[in-house]
Amino acid sequence: MVINAYGLDFKELNAKIRAVGSDCVVEGCIGQRYIGEGLDGVTLKLYGTPGNTLGGYLNGATIEVFGNAQDEVGDTMNAGRIIVHGNIGDAAGYAMRGGVICVRGNAGYRTGIHMKEYKDKRPVIIIGGYTGSFLGEYQAGGVIIVLGLGGPSPYTGNIVGEFPCTGMHGGKLFLRGRAEGVDFPAQVNVRLAGEEDRAELAGHLEIFAYSFGYPLGWLLDSDYTVVTPNTKRPYKQLYVQN
C-alpha cells in the first residue's frame, strides 16, 4: 500500500496509516509531525522529509526513512526500530525507554537526552556519523553508539560535539576510536572497550551493518571507548548538602 503524503496534515496522514493497518510506503512527506506515533506491528517506509517527533511513543513498529529526519526522532519510544538513511536533527531518542534508533548519517544536539531503561527494556541509539553537543545529556540508561564513519565533526574535530555525557547517571556510551581530545565531565568513567564490551557492541551493531550494508567485522575492527557513569554518587553535594 502506498500513501502519498503531499497536501495532508499530520492528523490526516496518521489516520490514513492507521486505517491501512499493515505495512505501507509513504511518499512525499513534507514536515508532517508524529508520523507512526504509538504504532505497533507494522513497517513504514518513508520518502521525503518527515516532520518532528517521528515515531514518538513508537510501540513495536519499524520505520525506515530514505532521507533525513528532523528533530525528536523516537521521542519517548517504547519498542520498535527507526532506521534513517540520512541525518537526524536534535534531541533524538528523547526519554526513550526501548527499541532501536539507527542512523547512517550525523545527528544533531542532545542525542539520547534523558534516555532510560527498565528491566528488559534497554534502548539503543546508533549514529553512523558524528553528533552535535550534549550527547547523552542526563542519560539514565540504555546504550548510545557513535561511529564517526564519515570522519570527525567539522565543528569540534571529534566525532562528538562539546559537553558529552553531561549529567550522565546510567547506561553506556560507545565511541568508535580512542576519543582523544574529547573532554568528559568528572562524573563519568572512560576506558577502552574490553572483550565483554566488544561482544555486547557486536550484538548492537548487527542492525546497523545489515541496514546500511557494512561488514560487521569491519565495523568492529577498531578501538572503542566506553563511557559509564561513575557509580560513587557522582553528583553528591552538587545541589544539596547531602
Partner: protein
C-alpha cells in the same frame, strides 16, 4: 481589560524561514509563504509576518514607513508629526486583501518619506539616526500609532493570524524582492497583537526569532541607556535593538555581534587558540549585559544580506541549505524542501555559530 502588548506578560515556540538570492535576482513573496506553510504546527495563529527586501525600486531612496493606527485620531496626530519631520512622496493605505482568516485589522498606512533637510541639518544627526529617533518618538509618544517598518526599499508585513494567511492578506505574491524572511508566532510571554508579531524592524534591519530569552530585563536595562525604548516587552524587540546598537553604533562586525549575544562559555573560550581567545574574552568583557541567554534561533536581515544564529546551547533548531545563488535558512528542513526540493549543502549550524550570507558584489557587513 483588553490584553495589550506591553502591559501584560504571560510566561512562553515559533517558526522562522529566510530565503535570499545572492545575485539579487528577484522572486515573489509566494515562496516564503509556501515555506512557512509546512511549519504550521509551530504557530498558533496569534502572529505571522514577513520582511521583504528590494520590493520598492520606484522609491528606493525613500524610507518606507509602514504604520498601524488604532483610529483616525492617532493617524491625524502621527501625520502631523510626519509632515513636520519628513517630506512625504506618497501616502496610501497599504494594499490588503480581505479574507475571513484575518480580522480586526487596524488602519494600515504606508508613507515613502525623506527627512526634511532643514530639520535634519538642525538635528546634527545622520539621516538614519534621525529617522530611527523619529520612529521611537512616534512609537513612544503617539498613542495608537505604531511604526513597524522604516527601511529603504524594504518592508515588513505582519498581523495576527497564521503566516500563510498573513501572506495572503498582504498580497505578498504581488511583491518581488531578492530576500524574504518569515515568522509564525506562538506567543508565550505576551498576548498576540499586530505590533507584537515578527519581524521586528528598525531602518533596514529586521529580526525574526524563535525562542524565549531569559536575559530580557538585563538586556533591556542596558540598551535603554542608549535611547532605545522597549515598548512591547517582547524579547525579539530587544534583540533587534541590541543588534542595531552593536552594528550601527559600536561598529562591530556581524561575527563580533554574534560573539557578544551568543558568547561561548568561558570553558570553551579557554580552549581556543590565543588570538581567538583574546577576541572572545574582550567581547564578553566589554558587553556582558548584552549576552542573550535562554533559547533562541534568529534570522537578522539587513539590506546586504542576512545572519542566522542560535543560542550557544542550541536550544532551538535551525537548518541551512543552498541551491545555486539561493540560500535558505529555516527552523525545519521541510520548510526548505517545500520550496527547493533539490537543496544542497544542508547544514545544521552549531549553537552560537553565525551563518552569514551576503550579496555577491555587496558589502561584507551590515
Amino acid at each position: 481589560m483588553k490584553l495589550v502588548e506591553g502591559r501584560v506578560r504571560i510566561p512562553s515556540g515559533c517558526a522562522i524561514s529566510g530565503i535570499i538570492s545572492r545575485d539579487r535576482r528577484k522572486f515573489t513573496g509566494e515562496r516564503i509563504v509556501e515555506s512557512m506553510k509546512v511549519m504550521r504546527e509551530r504557530s498558533n495563529g496569534l502572529g505571522g509576518g514577513f520582511a521583504a527586501y528590494g520590493i520598492y525600486p520606484k522609491y528606493k531612496d525613500s524610507y518606507a514607513l509602514h504604520i498601524f493606527y488604532n483610529d483616525s485620531n492617532a493617524k491625524r496626530e502621527c501625520e502631523a508629526f510626519l509632515n513636520e519631520h519628513f517630506e512625504i512622496d506618497e501616502a496610501s493605505e497599504l494594499p490588503t486583501r480581505k479574507i475571513p482568516e484575518i480580522t480586526d485589522e487596524p488602519l494600515i498606512w504606508r508613507y515613502f518619506a525623506l527627512p526634511r533637510p532643514s530639520r535634519l541639518a538642525a538635528s546634527q544627526l545622520d539621516e538614519r539616526e534621525y529617522t530611527a529617533r523619529c520612529v521611537f518618538a512616534i512609537n513612544a509618544r503617539i498613542d495608537g500609532a505604531y511604526v513597524f517598518s522604516s527601511g529603504k526599499n524594504m518592508g515588513v508585513f505582519k498581523a495576527v493570524g497564521y503566516p500563510e494567511d498573513v501572506g495572503r492578506f498582504y498580497m505578498l505574491d504581488e511583491y518581488e524582492g531578492y530576500m524574504f524572511i518569515g515568522h509564525g508566532r506562538y506567543p508565550t510571554n505576551t498576548p498576540g497583537w499586530w505590533g507584537g508579531a515578527h519581524p521586528f524592524s528598525l531602518l533596514d534591519f529586521a529580526v525574526v526569532h524563535n525562542g524565549e530569552i531569559s536575559s530580557y530585563d538585563a538586556n533591556r536595562r542596558f540598551i535603554e541607556m542608549f535611547g532605545y525604548r522597549c515598548a512591547l516587552m517582547t524579547d525579539t524587540e530587544v534583540i533587534t535593538y541590541i543588534l542595531d546598537y552593536l552594528i550601527r553604533h559600536v561598529g562591530l562586525t556581524l561575527e563580533e555581534s554574534a560573539s557578544v549575544i551568543a558568547a561561548p562559555f568561558w570553558s570553551s573560550i579557554a580552549k581556543k587558540p590565543p588570538e581567538e581567545r583574546e577576541r572572545l574574552t574582550y567581547l564578553r568583557t566589554m558587553f556582558p549585559s548584552l549576552l542573550v541567554t535562554g533559547p533562541f534561533s534568529i534570522i537578522f536581515c539587513f539590506e546586504g544580506g542576512m545572519m542566522a544564529l542560535n543560542d550557544r546551547l542550541k536550544l532551538r533548531s535551525m537548518v541551512t541549505a543552498e541551491k545555486g545563488d539561493m540560500v535558505y535558512v529555516a527552523s525545519e528542513e521541510c520548510a526548505i524542501r517545500a520550496v527547493e526540493p533539490d537543496a544542497e549543502n544542508l547544514r545544521y549550524p552549531s549553537g552560537g555559530e553565525p551563518v552569514i550570507v551576503t550579496l555577491n558584489g555587496g558589502k561584507d557587513n551590515a
